[in-house]
Symmetry: C2
Subunit: 478 residues, 2 copies
C-alpha cells in the first residue's frame, strides 16, 4: 500500500504537499467550497457550525466585559475612507467599489468595508458629547471584503466573516487597558477552545495596522511551521478621533479627543484549526468547538437490536453532548469510520451485537486512535474523555511548536534554521526597520511580534550587530 493511500484515498499526504492537503480537507470534509464569485467561498454547514461555536465563545467573553453588538453599513463613502491618511494608503488598493446602483451611476463611489474604523468614528463623533457618555464599547459580527490577488479558503478570501470591535475611551490608560484585555480574551479562547497555543506580543512599526499607534497580536504556529496571525488588537490613541472630530467635554469642561481601540478575529481561525491539528486521516477537531463531538456507528445496520441500542445511547448523551448516529445504509461501517475520522469528530462509538452482549460500547479517540471499551453504566465518563482529548490536542500542538522554535544569534544560522525547519525563530533586534526588511529579504521571514515574554539571547541585533533592543519572534507566514 502506497503512503498516499494509507488512510483516505482522496487526501494528499500531509508531508508531501501541505497546501494541497489543506485544500483537500477543506473540500472533502465539506467545510467550504469555491463559489461562482472568484476568490470568495461558500462556508458549508459543517464549517459554519465551527464558526458558530467559535463565535459563541468570543461573543460570550466580550459581553461579560460589557461589549455590545451593533450593525454598521456595509458601504462606506469613498471620501470617508480617505479621511485618515495612513489608513487609506493601507486599504485603498484592496477595496471593492460600488459605482452603479438602482440603474444609475452613483455621484460618489461607495467602498465595500475592508474594515470599519472610519464609519464607526464618524458615528461616534455624532453621538459623543460628554465624558459621561464614555466608553463606547461596540462590536459587530459581519462580512468584509479585501480584494486579495491570491486567495485560499479561510486563510485569505476576498470576503470573510469576522468580528470587529471599535471602542472609544475617556483616557489613554483606559483605552490601552482595553486593548490588552481583548488580547487576553483572544488568547484564552484560542488556547482553551481551539486548543491552539498562542504567543502574545506587539507588532513592529512595519507590521502594525494602517493608522494604529500600536498593534498587538496573538500568533499561532501551523503544523508545517508557518505562522498564522490569529487575532489582533489595536491602540489608536487620537489618530482617528482627531480627523473624525470625536471629542467630548471632559471632567474639567474642556474639549478633548477620545482614545480609540479596535480589534478583530475572523473565519481564518477555521484555517488555523485545520492546519494546527489535522493529520493524514483528515481534520481533527478540538471537542469544545467540534460540531459533532461523538459519532455513533452501528456495526450492523441489519440488526434492530443494534440500532435500538444506538438510539438509547444517543438519547442518554444528547442532552450534554453534540452527538449524532450514522444510519446511512448505503455505506459499510468501515467507510463510516474513515469518513468521520476525516471530518475530525473527536470520539467514535462503535456498537455491535457483541458489545450489547457484554453490556459495553467501543470507544475510539480521534486524537490518539486509542480503542477501548466502556461499560454501559459508565457512559457519562465520555465527558472526561472529551476533556482529555481537548488537553491532549493542546499539549501536542505546544510540543510541536517547541520543536519548531529555534534561537539564533546570526543571520546565517537564521537562514539555515528557517530553511530546514520553518517554525518560529527567536532573535535579537535593534529596533530598526531596515534590519527587519533585510531579514525578510534574505530569509523570507517577517517579524511575528515582539513577545511579551522576553528572553535575552544576546546583546546585539541578529542583522546589523548593533545594540539589540528586544527579542523578536520571526517566521514565514500565512
Amino acid at each position: 500500500m502506497s503512503k498516499k493511500n494509507e488512510y483516505v484515498t482522496e487526501i494528499t499526504n500531509i508531508e508531501d504537499d501541505f497546501a494541497k492537503w489543506y485544500t483537500d480537507i477543506v473540500l472533502k470534509a465539506e467545510l467550504a467550497d469555491y463559489s461562482d464569485t472568484k476568490g470568495c467561498i461558500v462556508i458549508r454547514p459543517y464549517g459554519y457550525k465551527i464558526w458558530e461555536n467559535i463565535k459563541n465563545c468570543i461573543d460570550k467573553e466580550l459581553k461579560i466585559i460589557g461589549i455590545e453588538n451593533t450593525s454598521f453599513p456595509l458601504l462606506i463613502p469613498e471620501s470617508l475612507l480617505q479621511k485618515e491618511k495612513e489608513h487609506v494608503e493601507g486599504f485603498a488598493p484592496e477595496v471593492a467599489l460600488v459605482t452603479e446602483a438602482g440603474g444609475k451611476k452613483l455621484a460618489e463611489k461607495l467602498c465595500i468595508r475592508p474594515t470599519s474604523e472610519t464609519i464607526f468614528m464618524s458615528m461616534y463623533s455624532k453621538w459623543l458629547k460628554s465624558w459621561r457618555d464614555l466608553p463606547f464599547l461596540y462590536n459587530q459580527w459581519c462580512n468584509v471584503l479585501r480584494w486579495e490577488k491570491e486567495t485560499r479558503p479561510f486563510l485569505r478570501s476576498r470576503e470573510f466573516l469576522w468580528q470587529e470591535g471599535h471602542t472609544i475611551h475617556e483616557t489613554e490608560k483606559e483605552a490601552r487597558e482595553l486593548t490588552l484585555r481583548i488580547l487576553d480574551i483572544y488568547a484564552e479562547v484560542i488556547e482553551n477552545n481551539l486548543a491552539m497555543p498562542v504567543i502574545k506580543g506587539k507588532k513592529t512599526e512595519i507590521e502594525k495596522f494602517s493608522g494604529a499607534q500600536e498593534t498587538y497580536t496573538v500568533e499561532s504556529l501551523m503544523y508545517d511551521g508557518r505562522a498564522l496571525q490569529s487575532g489582533t488588537s489595536h491602540y489608536f490613541g487620537q489618530n482617528f478621533t482627531k480627523p473624525f472630530d470625536v471629542k467630548f467635554q471632559n471632567r474639567n469642561s474642556e474639549d478633548e479627543y477620545a482614545y480609540q481601540t479596535s480589534w478583530g478575529t475572523s473565519t481564518r481561525l477555521i484555517g488555523g484549526i485545520i492546519m494546527s491539528h489535522g493529520d493524514n486521516r483528515g481534520l481533527k477537531l478540538p471537542p469544545k468547538i467540534a460540531p459533532i463531538q461523538i459519532i455513533i456507528v452501528p456495526i450492523s445496520m441489519k440488526s434492530d437490536k443494534v440500532i435500538e441500542k444506538c438510539q438509547e445511547i444517543y438519547d442518554k448523551l444528547s442532552n450534554q453532548f453534540r452527538v449524532k448516529i450514522d444510519l446511512r445504509d448505503q455505506y459499510s461501517a468501515g467507510y463510516k469510520f474513515n469518513d468521520w475520522e476525516m471530518r475530525g469528530v473527536p470520539i467514535r462509538i462503535e456498537l455491535g451485537l457483541r458489545d450489547i452482549e457484554n453490556n459495553q460500547l467501543t470507544i475510539v479517540r480521534r486524537d490518539t486512535f486509542e480503542k477501548f471499551n466502556l461499560k454501559m453504566d459508565e457512559l457519562l465518563k465520555i465527558g472526561d474523555i472529551l476533556n482529555k482529548i481537548q488537553d491532549n490536542m493542546y499539549n501536542t500542538c505546544l510540543e510541536h511548536n517547541m520543536k519548531k522554535t529555534s534561537t539564533v544569534t546570526t543571520l546565517n544560522e537564521f537562514q539555515e534554521k528557517i530553511n530546514k525547519n520553518q517554525g518560529y525563530i527567536k532573535a535579537m533586534w535593534c529596533g530598526n526597520s531596515e534590519c527587519e526588511n533585510k531579514i525578510r529579504e534574505i530569509t523570507g521571514a517577517k517579524s511575528r511580534c515582539i513577545p511579551f515574554d522576553q528572553e535575552k539571547i544576546s546583546d546585539i541585533c541578529v542583522c546589523c550587530g548593533k545594540k539589540a533592543k528586544e527579542m523578536v519572534i520571526w517566521g514565514r507566514q500565512y
Copy 2:
C-alpha cells in the same frame, strides 16, 4: 400642558403624525441612526439586542426541524443573477453593482446580493448527485442590499439584515410541506415572542415573489392601520432548478430536477414591533424580546441603603431575567422613569426608603401603567407579571386589529372604510389581476393575501361583480 408635551417632550404625538412618531422613537430610543451612507442605517446596541433576541427565537425553531446555517458570497456575478427571467426582472432595478476592485475595472460586474436564490442554486447544482443527498436544508443570516428610492429605518432600508432559507427536495409534496412548515414557524415566533397577531395566507399572482410558483405570507397590522408583510415563504417548483440544472438521480435511476423553496424574515420586524405596540410614551417592548425586561430605579441616589437594596434585588433577579439598575447620578428619578418608559422596558421597579421600611418594592407595568407593591419575599412573582404583560400586549394588538378590520361587498364601501379607518378590508375576489389592479388604483390598497381562514362574504367579486373565487384581505402597506 399641550397634548404634545404630555409625556416625553421630544416625541411627536402618535395621533398627529404617525410617521414622525415612528422616526422619533427609532432615534430617541437609540434603536438606530442614519449613517453617512445614504439610505443605510446603523443599528445601535439597543436595537441590535432586539434583533439578537428575534434571531435566537427563529434560529432555534429552524434548527429543531433540521435547518443548517451556511454563509454564501455577498457578491453574485451579473450573468448568474440573469439566469431566471422573472427573477432578474424583479430584482435588477434595485441592484447595487461592484464594477471596480483592487484598483482595476472588473471584466464582469458583480451584484451585491438582493437575495440569494441564484447563487444557492448554482452551488446546489454542483453538490447534488442522488436522491440520497436530499433534502438540502440551508439558511443564512446575512445582509442584503436593495436600492430603494425612498427609505425608512428598519422598514425599507437599502441594506438590511435577514435570514434567507433555501431548500431543495426530492418531491413536490415534501417541498410544499416545508414551505408551509416555515410559515407556521414564522407565525408562531411573531405571535408568541413579538406579541404581534398575524394572518397567514397566500399571495396573489401580482404580489408573489419574482420567480416563485407560490408565495405565502404572514401579515401584521400596525397601530395606524397599515399592513406589514412580516415574513414570506416561497414554493418554486422547478422554476430555478431547471435553468440552474439542479438535478439528481431519483429512486428509479432517472434524472429529475429538484423541488425548491426559499423563505425569509428581516430586521423590518423591529419596525413591526415599534408600530404594533408603541404609544405616546414611546416604545413598548414584549418581555420575550426586550433587551431589558426589568429596570430598577433607586428613588434616592444619595441613600447607600437604597442603592444596596437595589443591588440585592438585582442579584436575585439577574439569573432569571434581563435586568438593569439605573445608577446615573446626573438624572432625577422622574427623568429615569420617563426615559425607560420611552425605551419600552416592560417592568420598572422603584425603590425608596419607605419601600425598604415596608419590606416591599414598587412595580410599574409599561403596558397598563398599573402601579402596585410587591413584598420582597414575593420577588420572583415578577416572572408571572412579565408573562401577563406578554399576553396582554398580544391581546391588545389583536383587539385593535379586529377594530380595524372591515368586511365589504362593494367598491364604494371599500373606499369609504379604508379612507376612514385604514386597516384590513375583507372582500371577495374573482381571481383576476385586472380587478386587483383596479382596486389598487381606486383605493390605494393592495391585496395582502388570500387567507387560509376563508369566509364567504358574498358570491361576487367586490370589483367586477362576476363570480367570486375567494376572499382576499386588502390593505395599504408599509
